[in-house]
Symmetry: C2
Subunit: 305 residues, 2 copies
Amino acid sequence: MINELVKKIQKLQAPVVVGLDPMLSYVPEQVQKKAFAEYGETLEGAGEAIWQFNKEIVDKTWDLIPAVKPQIAMYEQFGVPGVEAFRKTVEYCKSKGLVVIGDVKRGDIGSTSAAYAAGHLGNVQVGNSRLTAFGEDFATVNPYLGTDGIKPFIDVCKEENKGLFILVKTSNPSSGEFQDRLIDGRPLYEWVGEKVAQWGETHMGESYSYIGAVVGATYPEMGKVLRRVMPKSYILVPGYGAQGGKAADLKPYFNEDGLGAIVNSSRGIIAAYKQEKYAHIGAANFGDASRAAVEDMIADINSIF
Amino acid sequence: MINELVKKIQKLQAPVVVGLDPMLSYVPEQVQKKAFAEYGETLEGAGEAIWQFNKEIVDKTWDLIPAVKPQIAMYEQFGVPGVEAFRKTVEYCKSKGLVVIGDVKRGDIGSTSAAYAAGHLGNVQVGNSRLTAFGEDFATVNPYLGTDGIKPFIDVCKEENKGLFILVKTSNPSSGEFQDRLIDGRPLYEWVGEKVAQWGETHMGESYSYIGAVVGATYPEMGKVLRRVMPKSYILVPGYGAQGGKAADLKPYFNEDGLGAIVNSSRGIIAAYKQEKYAHIGAANFGDASRAAVEDMIADINSIF
């Protein structure tokens, strides 16, 4: 799957991923109204609204982008119908040939991590049937519990040719509270990055590992160091756009081959129709606004090369 | 909710929580067969099997215990029908008066953490309706992202009188890889524990904070230190029983008032009928085996006082 992701990025010249993080407040009124007319102002109605919203954005952008990253929290808040909207979104994106990164930030130990891995990346045995629950291609994972938490995920990734992006240095202001603390003279995120590189060696694709890392766009100096620490790990970069990361800051996240990083934008793409720049396109054509924003993002990021 | 939990623990003289982590392999054949007869060997069939399994265990133990801790990974692996089984389990346990600790180990930032908090502990706005998605009383949370990740959870907890257990020192063998590394001479878990104490001060119950911590039973020396670092935080203690933690090791997790800790057992209770000790009760009466195991666990833990 990492080989496929790299190929798609090269073919489309687009090291970007669209974050499908649908707040209900992003969903245009006509989409909400239609969903509520059918299902009421219920969790089912909310699930239908975000699913229809996603579908339109995917329909208008899928040919430009290699990957999407649905953030499961935005679905989970709507309970079981929200999780069903997540499942449908994953399934639909895969049917469009998109690589799906499940932004689930799961992390536990042993059989519990194995269960998360089975549900999100693998299969589960029920009687004599082998079934797929969600079936993303990649999942984001939290490293706080150490190798016991990561290895069950990697085991499933090996069986299924799937991959991970492990949190190393997150994009938020307080990420330094623990991640930047010095251990034997080096910050925790470097130690985590080193582990990611080691874990990555155990599951290599053609030029990059199946085991990648999350490093926020908001910390380019740290990105530079982490690029060296994990030369074979793809870096998933959140924090571009709405969170303040700029294209000029992104250079250090890439290797000299122009590969090695994929930059996420969520709000900046899916709620583009709300920005002054795209407002003329109108809420009725929100998918077209997202397409225009994707085109602009790709041009912006390619300007650094 | 922390006040309620403390009162229930005192009334029942039972500082224990039953981990509802239903692997399909724990579910007796007759329960699986019945579910598969109705729904086939499908995700729905698996969801029904684990729900019926849980229901029987809850029916046979609810009067002995203050709380349950469903581990959502075990449900998520069965996709949407699994998550529906989680929801029904939470709802049913609450209808029995049990405190429900959602072992979800979520952790993200800003609006994403807020969405998890709304889904698991709070409410979500859909049009003019305010709806509950899962509605646990407590959730476990991962601290790696720092205050930005925790504060949105605490905000919801304050509104709803709900609480958290934040991972500090986990029970697994490799938890030390990052958690034990020394920062200015003190291990990371102590720094995290100190933050938990600070966060806890912002949301206090009568005698304990709504913001608790997870500290594994397998590290009693560290439990002793962390008890001092977080005197007002309830400690949720996994790792007793199947993971090797013994009652004698649990003393340091409690305060002098005999309170301050709640000990989890999952496999040891829910799959008790598979143990030699309870095998005579038989798989047909697996709920009675769980009840016997709960009684033994309570006696074992109370033996330390």
